[in-house]
């Protein structure tokens, strides 16, 4: 089923080496609870909604291209079938995405730059702080799947024949079915690679090409992979495009694109309550990846060796593609042109597979790097430099099958409610609420809980900033679950027919945040 990639025993050993060295990347997913991410309970809520066959939110999507596709949740449902809970299913899906990414990069780099390159390329990317941040800070499940699909497609594109094509198609399908917007950007990058592949395949077989695969049977076999790539991308697009019924409503993070310095900054910031151009998250590409990428570029462009002396356009096309595509993606992320600005935070992720594969070309261009001890050091370097990216914070996560309500334009979500006491004259009633914000909230709204009589007259109320002002909404980190408690004492002369409502409002204008077509929700009281 898999394309040919060397002697089975050697291949298995190489793959085992990668999987073992990548254990620290997966290991945090085995912790109880869920990582504290910007996505918070959103992916688990989406999964619950998909399982129940209903949309999880009531608000309208503002930009369909930002949605998650069905693929990551389909993968998560496997875990649900095995009896796992919602947060664990999301972790499972995340783990599978990382596995797919590792596998794709391993095959891609191995195919292009030799056996030793496979594990190294995968490790450089897996331990890149940017990727770890996407997984363990942003909780960007769909984006991780897009990158995984991209890596698998990249591998498929460099493989010969229809088998490579199947892999390319599957990768493209995964990428597009995971996120239509980001998947489309990935598809463009993959098509650029496919084009370079087609050009490279035209190089005469006798030419001393550095990157030509001597086993390649004929130039035309590059077409199947390109064709199947297009078919896979198309199918994924159908599954997850704006017209698809499988769309899940948007909780997409409203984080900004990175600034240039953030690609090399080694810090590990995690504060998104500040809405600024320079998002305080890690966008670091990782010093080992960046260094080896630059070394590889220098070796190719400036260094003279028998392998790099072939200056034919065709044979250099793949090299150009691997070096230029990631640079273009990074430039796009920084410049954040308006139509693509919503993709900016995740575009650098798409550059990672290309950079990883380009970086390990250094192994091919400089044989000294393949000496066992030096190679060993290179393999370990990404582990040693991963730092805090491997220490995500976890907390217990209880997710209801559906949130109680969503206020405003996906601004704040009332996750669940618990009421103690009875709704009658003279009674004290306590409302425990769990909130979260899918994105940073731009204003400190007040929360109110009111007891109304049949004439809509307020008989008792709490009107305050969350947690009595201790956690105003602008201090809520996206995804953070905020527990709050409201205690009301109903006057003894209150009539019998009472109701309890909850809402949020702008205290400057007294305008309430809409919740669906209402301006507050009625809290049911158990008899």
């Amino acid at each position: 089923m898999f394309p040919h990639f060397g002697a089975p025993r050697e291949t298995a050993r190489s793959l085992l080496l990668l999987l073992l060295l990548a254990i620290p990347v997966w290991a945090p997913l085995t912790r109880p609870g869920a990582p504290v991410t910007l996505a918070g309970p959103t992916p688990a809520l989406r999964l619950a909604a998909l399982e129940n066959g209903r949309p999880p939110v009531v608000a309208e999507a503002s930009n369909s291209w930002r949605n998650d596709g069905p693929w990551p949740y389909a993968a998560a449902r496997v875990w649900r079938w095995l009896g796992g809970d919602l947060p664990d299913a999301i972790k499972w899906s995340q783990g599978l995405a990382l596995l797919g990414l590792a596998l794709g990069l391993w095959g891609w780099a191995r195919r292009w730059a030799g056996a030793a390159a496979g594990p190294l390329a995968a490790l450089l990317v897996l331990y890149a702080p940017l990727l770890l941040s996407a997984v363990y800070q942003q909780g960007a499940l769909a984006a991780t799947w897009v990158v995984a699909g991209m890596a698998l497609a990249g591998w498929g594109l460099l493989e010969a024949g229809w088998r490579g094509g199947l892999l390319a198609g599957l990768g493209a399908l995964i990428a597009l079915a995971s996120s239509p917007g980001l998947g489309l950007a990935a598809a463009f990058a993959l098509f650029a690679l496919a084009l370079a592949r087609l050009i490279a395949a035209r190089a005469p077989r006798s030419a001393p090409s550095a990157m030509r695969d001597p086993q390649e049977p004929a130039p035309l076999v590059a077409w199947p992979s390109t064709l199947l790539l297009a078919m896979g991308a198309g199918l994924g697009f159908v599954l997850a495009g704006p017209w698809s019924s499988a769309l899940t409503p948007p909780f997409t993070l409203h984080i900004q694109g990175p600034a240039l310095y953030q690609f090399i900054e080694p810090g590990w910031p995690f504060d998104t309550t500040v809405l600024s151009r320079e998002t305080p998250l890690s966008f670091s590409l990782g010093l080992p990846l960046l260094a080896l990428f630059l070394i590889a570029f220098w070796l190719w462009a400036g260094h003279s060796s028998p392998e790099t002396q072939n200056k034919g356009m065709a044979s250099r096309a793949l090299l150009y593609a691997h070096f230029l595509i990631p640079v273009l993606l990074l430039v796009l992320a920084i410049s954040s042109p308006p139509p693509l600005s919503f993709l900016s935070p995740h575009l650098p992720l798409l550059s990672l597979p290309f950079m990883g594969v380009a970086a390990v070309v250094a192994l091919r261009l400089l044989p000294a790097l393949r000496r066992p001890a030096i190679y060993a050091a290179l393999l370990i370097l990404p582990l040693a430099s991963a730092g805090p990216g491997l220490s995500p914070t976890f907390e217990p996560l209880e997710v209801p099958s559906q949130p109680i309500a969503i206020f405003g334009d996906n601004q704040i979500v009332l996750l669940d409610l618990d009421v103690e006491g009875t709704l009658e004259a003279g009674a004290t009633i306590t409302v425990n609420a769990r909130w979260f914000a899918p994105r940073a909230v731009d204003f400190d709204y007040n929360v109110f809980v009111q007891v109304l009589d049949a004439n809509q007259t307020v008989r008792a109320q709490v009107d305050a900033q969350p947690q009595n002002g201790a956690r105003p909404m602008t201090s809520w980190r996206p995804g953070e679950i905020i527990s709050d408690q409201y205690t009301l004492t109903i006057p003894s002369d209150a009539p019998a027919d009472l109701q309890l409502i909850l809402g949020a409002y702008d205290w400057r204008t007294l305008e309430r945040l809409p919740v669906g077509d209402q301006n507050a929700i009625r809290i049911p009281i158990a008899e």
Binding site: R13, L16, L20, L21, P28, L381
Partner: protein, 600 residues
């Protein structure tokens, strides 16, 4: 094989330890480290006894607020002895003595690993292994976070035991047997816990070495002889080592039941609350807190990412089947897997059912063994893929890996110095420590309650000397019963006592424990009238303190902490073992040379 002092690798390994030693030279003391205060008071107590001429004390007088505790009878005294020695010889402060002891453990450990791996894999590998050992996160945790003096010393001794065991297996002779005996005895005297959990691993290692030795024999007779040859010398060395340390081992094993062990194994110490989560093994987060139930311990149980990577590469090389070191590398891989497994909840079955496993108290203590395995595996990549005919590049590889290992450990090279707590390194400080932490409040089996304070503690805190340990609050001091303290020492008390009637008792602020003996003497001549061991019945509640029966009349009463029969047997065996070791040394000096071990 050239002498170690001519080996650049040895000096390079020594140089690399300096980065790990440096934080301990920082002014101040890490009072908040887990056992940092214990260490200071251990040395203080040891030194007080030493002042009275007892080199290896069994009784510590000021535990449990002055009621005393047979601490060094059940807790290996080696590290504290070194600390006390450095304190006395170098005139250090107690705090500096602790730090100096930890520095000694770093150096001893690095050198031990160097010698062990040099015999096995050569000098360049020895450098990498020594550096890997020093910068293994759990080793650094033992030193900077836990300040676990005894375990650090034991960990440092482990490679020496392995070195000697390997020599005894491959080059049996009197010197290698003596080396194994001395190192194994040193291990037992460093930490009984570590000795207990390490011995099965050592046994398995010797079997692996024997397997390696008999591999070349094809016939049954050759194999049998091979097994005997491979195991005889190491077996003898281990036996001699255990015998040498039996003055401590025997009483520790047989008399530990007379202290309240639940105090150290129940409640917080329940092992089920301290299993390491899989993710924690790879989590590079560092911290200075103490072990807690759940996955969020505020301290690190990581293997070390660089060390883990090198172990994976060793496994990868091992799969290639083309290394002559395959068997031993395989053994260390298995040792790593088993020791890590024992730290996790997956091993709860072993903890509940397999003898000795739970004696480690905390599951994460098995990381001690993992450190040794990781350090042994770290240089495997050098020998599995040797850079042939390129000696210079081989050195570069060794130095590169060493540099990576230092960088991997660099974020953890820090101590948290804090101002001294109330009382500092004084007896008053010890009392305050016991009161505030409930540590060093060990009780013996006759105690019904854990002491929270004592009249002696009042004296210490007030800066007054304790001139005797008679509980005068229970002595009427009249014609019925009167007691006059005459002599007071760490492990004895002489009083003149007058009792009007028989059946009276003299109470002391000393906990009962086997060995406490009462001697009734004539007050004028000093002639011994009666001498008898004190039993659990000779105590008064609630702390099980001594309540010595006395005959009617005017007498001298001496209570003293003496050797029990078990202790005497243990000491005799130790003397016998020492004599055998001297004989072996003489034999070696007179006729034999210490055989050089071929790299096998």
């Amino acid at each position: 094989m050239k002498p170690f002092y001519r080996s650049p690798s040895f000096w390079m390994a020594t140089f690399f330890t300096f980065f790990a030693i440096a934080p301990l030279l920082k002014p101040g003391y890490f009072w908040a480290a887990h056992d940092a205060r214990h260490d200071v008071y251990f040395i203080m107590q040891y030194n007080i006894t030493w002042d009275e001429g007892t080199l290896f004390p069994r009784w510590s007088p000021d535990w449990a607020f002055g009621y005393g505790y047979p601490f060094f009878n059940i807790y290996a005294p080696g590290a504290t002895f070194i600390g006390a020695l450095l304190y006395r010889v170098l005139s250090l402060s107690l705090e500096a003595a602790v730090e100096a002891t930890l520095i000694v453990t770093i150096l001893v450990g690095a050198w031990g690993m160097w010698f062990f791996v040099r015999d096995w894999l050569g000098e360049k590998a020895a450098l990498v292994a020594a550096v890997a050992f020093v910068y293994a996160p759990y080793h650094l945790l033992d030193i900077y976070v836990r300040a676990a003096m005894a375990e650090s010393l034991a960990l440092a001794v482990l490679p020496w035991v392995l070195w000697a065991a390997r020599r005894a297996a491959f080059a049996p002779g009197p010197l290698s047997i003596v080396a194994l005996a001395l190192t194994y005895a040193a291990l037992h005297l460093s930490s009984n816990l570590v000795a207990l959990i390490f011995t099965p691993l050592l046994g398995a290692y010797l079997v692996a070495l024997a397997l390696k030795r008999v591999a070349s024999h094809t016939d049954l007779k050759g194999r049998v002889w091979g097994w005997l040859r491979a195991l005889f010398a190491p077996g003898l060395g281990l036996l001699l080592g255990a015998a040498l340390a039996s003055f401590f081992i025997l009483p520790a094993l047989t008399e530990a039941r007379f202290v309240n062990l639940d105090q150290w194994f129940g409640g917080y110490y329940n092992f089920r609350d301290h299993f390491v989560y899989f993710a924690q093994l790879f989590d590079p987060r560092w911290g200075f807190g103490i072990s807690q139930p759940g996955p969020d311990d505020p301290l690190s149980y990581q293997l070390g990412l660089v060390l883990f990577g090198l172990a994976v590469l060793a496994f990868w090389g091992w799969l290639r089947r083309d290394s002559r070191h395959r068997l031993e590398i395989g053994f260390w891989l298995l040792a790593l897997v088993v020791s890590v497994w024992l730290t996790t909840a997956a091993a709860v079955w072993a903890w509940e059912r397999v003898p000795f496993v739970s004696s480690a108290q905390f599951p994460w203590r098995y990381l001690t063994l993992a450190v040794v395995a990781l350090a042994a595996l770290a240089p495997a990549v050098l020998v599995q893929h040797p850079v042939r005919k390129e000696n210079g590049r081989d050195w570069i590889a060794a130095l590169t890996l060493s540099g990576l290992l230092v960088l991997g450990g660099a974020p953890y090279l820090r101590v948290e110095t804090t101002p001294p707590p109330p009382g500092g390194a004084t007896l008053a400080g010890l009392m305050e420590f016991q009161r505030s932490s409930d540590e060093m409040t060990g009780m013996t089996m006759t105690a019904q309650a854990i002491a929270r304070w004592s009249p002696l503690a009042d004296l210490y805190v007030a800066g007054l000397p304790v001139e005797n340990r008679v509980d005068y609050s229970r002595v009427p001091q009249n014609e019925t019963l009167a007691v006059d303290a005459r002599e007071h020492r760490v492990d004895r008390e002489l009083v003149r006592v007058y009792a009007k009637e028989p059946g009276q008792r003299v109470p002391f602020y000393r906990q009962w424990y086997p060995g406490w003996t009462a001697t009734i003497m004539d007050p004028e001549t000093g002639e011994v009238i009666e001498r008898f061991p004190l039993t659990p019945e000779d105590t008064y509640p609630p702390y099980g303190l001594l309540n010595v029966p006395i005959p009617a009349g005017d007498h001298l009463l001496l209570i003293s902490f003496e050797d029990t029969p078990v202790r005497r047997v243990g000491e005799s065996i130790s003397w016998l073992a020492l004599a055998l070791i001297v004989l072996l040394l003489l034999w070696s000096v007179l006729g034999r040379r210490f055989k050089a071990v071929p790299r096998i």
